[in-house]
Every structure is written in C-alpha cells, then in structure tokens.
C-alpha cells in the first residue's frame, strides 16, 4: 500500500501527519509526505527561480523546506526513520530537484520501507493530483481545511481514497462508523473499513439509512453483508438501521470520536459538482475524521 500525506504547516498539520504515519505503520505502507508551496505566476517564474538560486548561494533555504524539516524531526522523534538517518539530521542539500517544481528527499523507514519527503510548488489540487498520478497512491491523507471548498475539490479530483484527518485523538478512543447502502462504492469501502477496524482494534457501528419507512431488499442485503464482513475480521459490529435523510442522519449519528468510512459516489462528476454527493455533503458538515474510499 502507498500513502500520501499532504501537510501545510507545523501549526496545523500535526494531526494529519500523526494519523497518516499511524496508518502507514499499521499497513506497513510506503509513505510520502508532501508539502505544496505557493503558486508562482507564469510571468515571474524564471525571475523567482533566479532569485532562489541567489538565495541558495547565501545559504538560504527554499520556502517550504522548514516544513519538511519539521516533518523530518517528527519522523525521527517517533522512530519512523532509521536511527542512522535520524542521527545525521535533516540535510537540506540532499533534496533532489526533479524539475517541474518538485524536490524530493528519500529516507529509509523503520516500520515503513520507504519514507519520502516531497516539496512541490503550485496550485495545491493539481500538484497533489499529479503526485498521486505519478506515485500511484492508494490513500491521500489531508488535514481539516478552513476552506471547505479545498477539501471538497481534493476529494473530487484526486484519484485515490481520501482520509480527512481532524483533531488529534488517540486512535484507541475512536469508533468506526461504516455508512452502508447498496451502491458499488460501499463494497470497496467495507474492505477498507474492516481492515482499519482490525488493525486499530476499533469498535464498529454499521449504519444504513433509508429515506422510506421500510428498508428495501438491496439496503437490507448490503447491511447484513457489512455485518458479516466485520464479524469475519474479528470485530463485533453494532447494527444501526435508521430512517431519514442519509446525510443528516449520518451527521447526527457521528460524534467527534467516530471515524466515518464511506464509499465514493457513483454520480456523474458534473452532477456532483452542482448537487454534491452523500460523502461530499457529509464531509462538508461533519467534525469527525472521515475516510472516502475510491
């Protein structure tokens, strides 16, 4: 498995980095920590590059390097990288420039085989999309953005499952809230949900919401199947069958200590753009961490 963790600053990204690294450790996944710096206008790009080279001659680091240095320190303190690398410390001059506004530092991990630090520059969504496309990541971990639109666009346009990290809480205190319906997206989400619950020994609530008083065959079948999958992975789930508006009900059920897992909507992207979708609408309004599985 490959996990991409998108960080923005040491002030706001600690929960994101912590959750991302915990997941990487649990799955023994390769992990990449990426920081995307400010976009530079095409008119000034060459001038900025020239100025940055002058800065380097004065021993001044590029913007964003300090954020990577902070991430390195976090990895070293929490023993995610080998003691030899941690001892040497963050070496700014070992950042390899791959061109196209991408610098990379490759590290040897303790629990995860590979740990990469990436510095990119540009519009955050296209840059992360390119990184996911280039690296073929399974999950992208993003933080809780003040700009709801940003998280919305990331979910919409990035071609991997998305984990939206919220406030820092020990994973042990979480319950997993698996939202289930008869859609195709639910099937894949169930696999992820059961893996996460098993890896972190989380109690699970399986929630199916029907708009009508009676539950149809499809919904009941999907719900029962979900319960079975969790039981098979050694977790005893709590069954929840509720009637009402799905988004509203999920939001009412979820607490801050719930990790919501949902499948991506199968709706047409244009309809999603204007109307939204269940996972996007839940993500917009909820205060819980959330996993949207693609």
């Amino acid at each position: 498995m490959k996990i991409l963790i998108a960080i923005s600053s040491k002030e706001y990204s600690k929960p994101t980095l912590q959750v991302g690294m915990l997941a990487a450790k649990a799955y023994n996944a390769s992990v990449t920590i990426a920081y995307v710096g400010q976009k530079i206008s095409a008119f000034g790009k060459s001038d900025v590059d020239l100025a940055m080279e002058s800065n380097a001659k004065w021993g001044l680091e590029r913007p964003g390097v300090r954020v990577l240095e902070w991430a390195f320190k976090y990895l070293a303190e929490n023993k995610y990288i080998t003691p030899e690398i941690a001892k040497v410390g963050f070496q700014r001059n070992t950042l390899v420039d791959h061109g196209k506004n991408r610098l990379e530092l490759h590290l040897k991990g303790n629990y995860c085989e590979e740990v990469d630090l990436i510095l990119r520059r540009g519009d955050i969504i296209p840059e992360l999309r390119n990184e996911v496309h280039q690296g073929g990541y399974d999950i992208t971990v993003i933080g809780r953005s003040k700009k709801r639109r940003m998280a919305h666009d990331l979910v919409q346009y990035i071609d991997s499952s998305i984990y939206v990290a919220r406030d820092l809480l020990p994973f042990k205190e979480f319950r997993l809230l698996q939202a289930v319906d008869d859609s195709k997206g639910t099937a894949k989400a169930l696999l992820y949900g059961s893996q996460v619950a098993k890896a972190f020994k989380m109690p699970v609530d399986v929630l199916t919401v029907s708009k009508r008083e009676s539950f149809g065959k499809g919904y009941m079948g999907a719900h029962k199947k979900a319960l079975k999958i969790f039981e098979k992975s050694g977790v005893k789930p709590v069954s929840m069958l509720k009637v009402g508006d799905p988004v509203k009900t999920i939001l009412e059920t979820a607490t801050k200590r719930h990790l919501i897992v949902m499948g991506i909507s199968q709706l047409n992207p244009i309809i999603q753009f204007f109307k939204g979708s269940k996972p996007l609408n839940v993500m917009k309004k909820c205060d819980s961490p959330m996993m949207i599985v693609k």
Binding site: I40, S41, A42, F43, G44, S46, S54, N55, P63
Partner: protein, 445 residues
Amino acid sequence: MIVSVILFVLPAPSGLSLSGYRILIIVFIALTLIISEALPLPGIAFIIIILEVYFGIGEANDIAKSFMNDAVFFIMGSLMLAVAIVRQGWDKRIALGIIKLTGSKTHRVAFGFAALSAVLASFVGEHTVAAIMLPIVLTLIKYTSKDRIKIWRLSAYLLFSIAYGSLIGSVGTPSGGGRNVILIHYWQEFGMQQISYLEWMKFAYPLIFIQIPVLSWLLWKTFPPEKKTLDTGIRRLKIRAKSDTITPKKITALIIFFLVFLGWVFLSETVGLGIIALTGVVMYLITGCVTWDDLHKHVNWGVILLFGATISMGAQINHTVAAEWLANSVIKFGGELMVSVPIFTDGLIILLTTLLANVLSSSATVAVLGPITLNLPGDTVHIGLVMAISSAFGYFTAVAAPACTIIYASGLVKAKDFLKVGWKMGLVSIIILVIYANTYWALIN
C-alpha cells in the same frame, strides 16, 4: 471560449470595422487566458498570432513582421542581462554599501533598501534588482531572529521596501522596464512625437525621489517593525558580506553594463534600446561572464513570445482603427470633461492602467492599452508617460510585477499583505502622479 464564439457570430458594433471587431475579440480571448493562466504563456502567444491570420486581420507575413521588433529585442535582452548581472554576485558588495550608508536603525536600513532598489531598477529593471536584493534582506531577517513569526512585520517592511522600491524606480528611464520600451515602440509605429533616453529621465526621474520617502513612511505605518534597530543582524550580515572578493570577471561585467548604459543614453535613438541590450548580452557571452546554458535556463521564453504577440495585437488594434473606435467611446463616456479638464483624462488612464496592471502584468497592460490611450485627446507624450508610469502601480497583487512575485515566493509575505499596503500605496501614487504630471511636466515643457 463560448463567449468568444457568440461574439464572433454577432455583427460588429456600428462604426467599427469587421477586422477591428475581430481584433477586439482576440483581445478578449487573450486577456481571459492571461489572467486565468489556463494555457502556458507560449500557447497564448500562438493563439493570438494564428487568430490574427484566421480572422483575416492580416497576412501571415505582416503578422510575423509586427511580432518581432526592437521592443521584443529589448525584453529578450533585458531578461538575459538580468541573468548575467545576478550571476556576478555583486549582492554582497551592495549589502556592504547599504549598511555603510544607513547604519543599523531599522527605518534607515529600509529606506536604504528602497532607495537603492529604485535607483538600480531604473537602469536594469525591477526583476533584476529584486533578485539581487532578496537574499540580502532574507539574510538580514535570518540573522535578526530565528523565529520568523516573531518578526513578521519587520520581514514585510523590508521585503516590500525592495519590491515597491524597484517598482517605483522602474519608471525612471526607458530601460527600467519592458513597458517603457513598448510605449516607445508605439510612438514610433504610430508616427507620434518621441523623446530621448535623457528626456524620459527628465520627465520621470524626479517622481522617484518624491515617491520613495512616501513609500518608506507608508510601510513603516502599515508594518511597524518589531525591532527598531538591527544591530545583531547588521553585524552578522557585514561579516557574511565581507567574505566576498572582487574578481576580474566581476569588474568586466560591471564595465560591460556601464557600456550598455552609455549605449542606451547616447545611441538608443539611432540603433534602438533592444539592439544595445542584445549587444551587452553578446559581450557577456564573449567574455564568459555568462554561459548560453545559463541564459537558456533562466530566461522566460514564454514571456518573450507573449509580449511579441501582444505588441503585434496592439499594432493591429491601431491598424484596424479599433483603437480609435474605443478611444471615441471613452471620449463619449467622458464627454466635455475629456477635452476641457486634462486631469480627468489622466485620472481615467491611471485608473484603467493600474487596475489592468494588477491582474495582467505591467508590460502586457501597456501593450494592450497603449494603442487606445494614445488615441485619446491630448499630448501623446504626456498620455504615454502617464500610462507607462501608472502601469508600475502594481502594488495590489503578487502577480502584477516580477519584483512582487519574487518577494511573495520567499513565503514571508502573504497575498493579503499586498492588499493591506497596496491600496494605500496605489491611492497615494495616483494622487502624486496626477499632480506631478500636471504641474512639473507643464513647467518643463
């Protein structure tokens, strides 16, 4: 794109020729693409050129001729000169020079940065100066405090001093910016009265000396620095800068630039500013002060192509009489005031130019607006200079000028900081320019 297609099938407004209407559609497409950055700059340039031919505005050879001229040579040459000059590493000497003159009081240091940036930018262009000054300021900030958050106002104060100082200075001489040379090209192309390098300086240079103290005061008020003296930072910067040695190559580079400057002053009317800039580039290449690989890597070829295309578009706006039609529309809007109150025309030009320069870039603004404003009633030198100077009022956004983009890229100033100080600086600059243009220019004329 949809709007462009709709415009294309609609009939031309009365009084405007079909080719004039179509060039305005190209202007609309070009502006939309430049502002949105939906395509790379060379792509936008090619769209302008091919549409000029497909829309029947000109023959392929005529469009090609209007695409390449001395203004484009100058933009190409000045971008290359910037690489050659920055490469020489005179920054440490400059740092020592400023420190010697200003001492360690924060307001004096900032004033020194602003004033020197302005003077240098008036000759070598704001992008060059900002690239030279940035490491000096960043080193000073780094040596002043390790925690940048604690001195964010000081950082903004010093960084804006170099960016805005460079912008203010860039109007001082024709070689201060590509937009100045584009204006000179239009004066020539449209058969209008021209002014020499020294005459330009006579018109524009005193404005720099008025604006710099105003800038320093406004920055001090907007970003009151956390430290009123920079003793530690200055001392450490001095030690760092003293490690520099003067090499024969550095001297050669300086002599070449001095020769280029003399060429601009005394020969530009005969051979053109662009040719002189390119002569300097050739001299730098021959003497080994810069390599072609370096120039190739650091010159923004997209910008050169785009300015070539926008100048060609500007020439066609004038050729198809669309400029005159637009100017007449502006006159109708302004009414009698346009003729009887010259300040009104100045205000309108300044406002329009400033607004466009902040979203487009100063050179592209002059390239597009030039043919229209030069058709307005009044002295074409006066109007042209007002436009060229106000195109440097790119204080509001980080994209308006390379100097602003450079300090923005340092990560120490945010987009909102530009707005915070930019509106004040913009407003004051507009008022100063209107008064200056209608008093001092009237006096020297």
